[in-house]
């Protein structure tokens, strides 16, 4: 197996050294850094809005652009967190604790350079984990049958609902709504038209990429207008000088960055637990392990920045483990990546490791290279990226709305999907105000076909008996975990 993996890696390396792919990676990273540096512009939103640019590209080429944006945005979220105490992306929230105090001491440049190095370490470790662990998981998943896949889909939904918002019930409702939306169109098993009302555009189902663009692009933009489009204008005047980090700083952060990289990869692999949760966990672990440090955590400790940044970047590769091996997205971005692959009729899951191993390893090697690009450009351009925070948001949002519209239209060349996107945007905006997380809805959209087909197939095999789920140890364990994910917080809530 190792020989096969190494062989695939060498093929992947040959593919990603193609000048077009390299150029798209660099472009993606720069775009990601640009968007991640502007507070409120998340990696998810950027990818949702720009997904349509990859429809006509080869799957591997398109993925390089999207992964470049992903890695670049997660890394760059730390820049405004350090400079203006506002995370560029939710993943960088924990970076504020020590990054901002460093900035106040006039050490913003040092903090950004160390954040760049730690992001590289965390991201690199996570992609290595993806590269070498995921084939083992996929190999095991090849033995899964309908009951196991249904159980996994159920688990994916319950866990994302439980970790992605303040309310489990609202998270579950959001996920189930996504599932309900996904039932529109032709029934996969009988061919019956469900909820299509003789509208031709609904026959093929509701285009989930249009829904995602609406949820992450339009809803986010509307929220920005409700919040006040002029409220987030920032002015950065602190000059970031120097390019190379000092050796003593690298020595100081290396151990905690490596450990945080492993933890972040593990956390990222849990569906729903994205970079924000990963960085809080790794930061918290750093404060537990490294006692009696000077300065103490929260007062400008460079290792605090490193722990948070390594953790959140490590979640990127981690999130792709369940995405590629099981077809269950680890977070909203990986849900979008699944969408991007499905446009090219590539369906993530264990079979992908047999049928499309060339594509997969091109993606893995490319993602490793993306972190090298982030390291180089992050260090070289620190001063320039810091200036990006000054870009006024009121220029950006009308342009983003146009990109959302053209992205939805590009799905099928009709305005219908733009209407779907707008409706999803309106719904997402209202739901966010009422405290409903949107990530479970996206997961519901992706998981519904897996859950439905495998549930009905399982019950068909067993003649309608639920025994089929009890007799499979894996399915039973996963279903019990799903029940516990919902029941434990519910019981705790009743007790409180």
């Amino acid at each position: 197996m190792i020989t096969m993996v190494l062989n695939d890696i060498s093929h992947g390396l040959a593919n990603v050294l193609d000048p077009t792919i390299l150029a798209l990676m660099v472009f993606g990273v720069l775009l990601g850094i640009l968007m991640g540096s502007i507070p409120g512009m998340t990696a998810t939103m950027t990818i949702a809005v720009l997904l349509s640019f990859t429809f006509t590209l080869e799957p591997a080429t398109g993925m390089m652009l999207l992964l470049g944006i992903f890695g670049g945005a997660v890394y760059a979220g730390s820049i405004p967190a350090i400079l203006i105490r506002t995370p560029g992306t939710p993943s960088a929230a924990a970076t504020i604790f020590d990054g901002y105090p460093l900035s106040q001491k006039g050490e913003a440049g040092r903090a950004i350079r160390m954040s760049t190095v730690a992001s590289f370490i965390g991201g690199f470790i996570s992609v290595l984990a993806l590269m070498f662990l995921s084939p083992l998981i996929a190999d095991a998943a090849l033995r899964f049958r309908s009951p196991e896949f249904f159980a996994l889909a159920l688990f994916g939904l319950t866990i994302i609902a439980s970790v992605s918002g303040d309310s489990l019930t609202k998270g579950m409702i959001s996920g189930l709504l996504g599932m309900l939306i996904a039932t529109v169109g032709i029934d996969p098993l009988t061919g019956y038209q469900r909820f299509t009302f003789d509208v031709p555009n609904l026959m093929g189902g509701i285009e989930f990429i249009a829904v995602m663009i609406g949820l992450f692009g339009i809803a986010e933009g509307l929220r920005k207008y409700a919040q006040g489009i002029d409220d987030d204008q920032n002015q950065i005047n602190q000059k970031i000088t120097g390019v190379l980090p000092s050796l003593s700083d690298i020595k100081s952060i290396a151990p905690i960055s490596i450990v945080s990289g492993f933890i972040g990869s593990l956390v990222g692999a849990i569906p729903g637990a994205g970079g924000d949760i990963a960085s809080f966990i790794t930061y918290n672990e750093a404060t537990r392990w490294l006692k009696d440090t000077t300065p103490s955590f929260g007062e400008g400790n460079i290792r605090g920045v490193a722990a948070a940044e390594s953790g959140n970047n490590a979640s990127t590769g981690g999130a792709l483990i369940p995405t590629f091996t099981l077809g269950i997205p680890g977070d909203s971005v990986s849900a979008l990546l699944i969408g991007a692959l499905m446009v090219h009729n590539v369906t993530p899951g264990p079979e992908l490791y047999q049928d499309e191993s060339g594509l997969l390893y091109t993606i893995f090697v490319g993602f490793l290279l993306i972190y090298v690009i982030i390291l180089i450009f992050g260090l070289l351009g620190a001063n320039y990226w810091a200036r990006l925070i000054n870009i006024p948001q009121n220029y950006v949002w009308p342009v983003i709305f146009v990109l959302c519209v053209i992205g939805a239209i590009a799905l099928s060349g009709t305005v219908f999907n733009a209407w779907v996107m707008l409706a999803a945007g309106g719904l997402g905006f209202v739901m966010r105000f009422r405290g409903y997380p949107l990530a479970p809805m996206v997961l519901g959209l992706i998981l519904a076909p897996i859950a439905e087909a495998n549930l009905r197939r399982s019950l068909d095999i067993s003649g309608g008996s639920l025994d089929i789920f009890y007799t499979s140890p894996i399915a039973l364990t996963v279903i019990l975990l799903s029940i516990a994910t919902v029941a434990v917080p519910a019981i705790r809530s009743v007790r409180d």
Binding site: S52, F53, F55, T56, G165, D166, S167, T169, K170, M172, I173, L176, L177, M179, L180, T183, D187, T190, Y192, R194, F195, I218, G221, L222, R223, Y225, A226, Q227, G228, I229, D230, N394, Y395, W397, P398, V399, F401, V402, L403, V405, I406, I409, A410, G413, T414, V415, A418, W419, L422, G425, F429, F433, R434, G435, A448, A451, L455, R456, G464, S493
Partner: protein, 155 residues
Amino acid sequence: MALTKLKSNPLSVIFILVSVVVIAYATRFPDGGELGPGFFPILVSAAIIVFAVADIVVDDDTELEISDFSMVPAAVMFGFLTAYLLLMPYTGFLVGTMLFLPVGLYYSNIRSKLMITVISIGLPIVLFYIFSDLFMVRLPEAIIPVSRLLPPLPL
């Protein structure tokens, strides 16, 4: 008390009503209620009802503080987007976007006439070339096909 909880969770109430309608509709599918096409939508709708009722009963305070936000700008922008899409079959993507952008930018407090003009004319043209000529995506055309006046890319 119960009425207050219902009032404070209007979306949960709406989701329950939608689910009831879905269940009623899906039971009319062939073999609805067994393992036919109605089985899964009914199952999901029933689960929504269970969690929505639980949400109303728990009534946790997770919504955003409404006083921190002004709904008017969001509603106005949503209105602009709706008008943009409504007009698109007549204006096409190119002209429609050239009309939407100045309105959107002006409403976003951009007052530089030069910037508004450059963005409103430049962006739609760039996007039109990228999607129409490079990606071969058929973008909505106006009643009077203005986009045909643009010279093709020398590809």
